[in-house]
Symmetry: C2
Subunit: 162 residues, 2 copies
């Protein structure tokens, strides 16, 4: 039996470890640019890493929104391909929910790309609902150009009180 | 005489306006990827735009560090090329300093690329000192690989009490 990965606070030194593997974890998609060092320096109170035997198995970067009272935001989550479907994503999200709920948040938002159907399904399983968009891809509502020209996004929100 | 640009809180709707001009303001360098929508949704309490006659002339994205008590961080500042050397960058920084000082911050940090000698000179004029690095470019201390492989950074810190 394999020991469960240990979840702990993200550290600045995790930045290099994450950047070294993240594009590979995402099947070659260039994702490193979404994770500048600032997230690993300043959001370590609401961001987490999981490791087993000193090997990184997953991480989550999120924060309490300073401008939107009661709201938290999950920016990025990554799980080692060999660790998927074993509940680590669920544990990382659950850890984040607990921490931001204790700080008074009542809802969490997140976004993903419409091509990432696995992420849409995961967020639905985690209790998120899809926010309305101005277009649809299949039956998925999409906010076109939400993150810039051509950067459409599916937007999620979850009530933390339920 | 040209009216002074008006500084106001950044708004989510500024994202599209900034993304449309930012690479051009930076002389063709691809900077838009550094400004995902999240900064325009969640950090509007400590981020600012400047405009004159409804035209965007500059902006600053910054935040109070949730994980480092007393610290604030400036992520990005942009000024229209035709508006430079007229004090708008100084006014944007001054507005940020006042807001984060009122929220208990005693220091501000920022980083830039070693190639951006204009930014190094600007930060020095604004009262920042350069933090130690593990290498030097000219006489500038540089933290090699600070933002990932090949992504060296000059790091600045300013005491807000002086």
């Amino acid at each position: 039996m394999i020991a469960e990965a240990r979840i702990r606070a993200l550290r600045p030194s995790d930045h290099a470890r994450v950047i070294a593997v993240i594009d590979q974890w995402w099947g070659g998609r260039p994702m490193a640019r979404m994770l500048p060092r600032l997230f690993f320096d300043h959001f370590t109170d609401t961001s987490f890493a999981a490791d087993r035997d000193d090997a990184l198995t997953g991480f989550l970067v999120g924060f309490v929104s300073p401008a939107r009272p009661g709201e938290a935001y999950i920016h990025f989550v990554g799980v080692h391909p060999g660790e998927r479907s074993h509940g680590l994503g669920r544990r990382l999200y659950g850890t984040f929910f607990d921490v931001v709920r204790a700080r008074g948040c009542t809802r969490v938002r997140a976004v993903t790309s419409p091509v990432n159907t696995g992420s849409v399904a995961f967020h639905r399983r985690m209790g998120f609902r899809l926010e309305p968009g101005d277009a649809e891809v299949g039956d998925i509502p999409v906010a076109t150009g939400y993150d810039g020209p051509g950067q459409d996004r599916v937007r999620f929100v979850r009530d933390l009180r339920s």
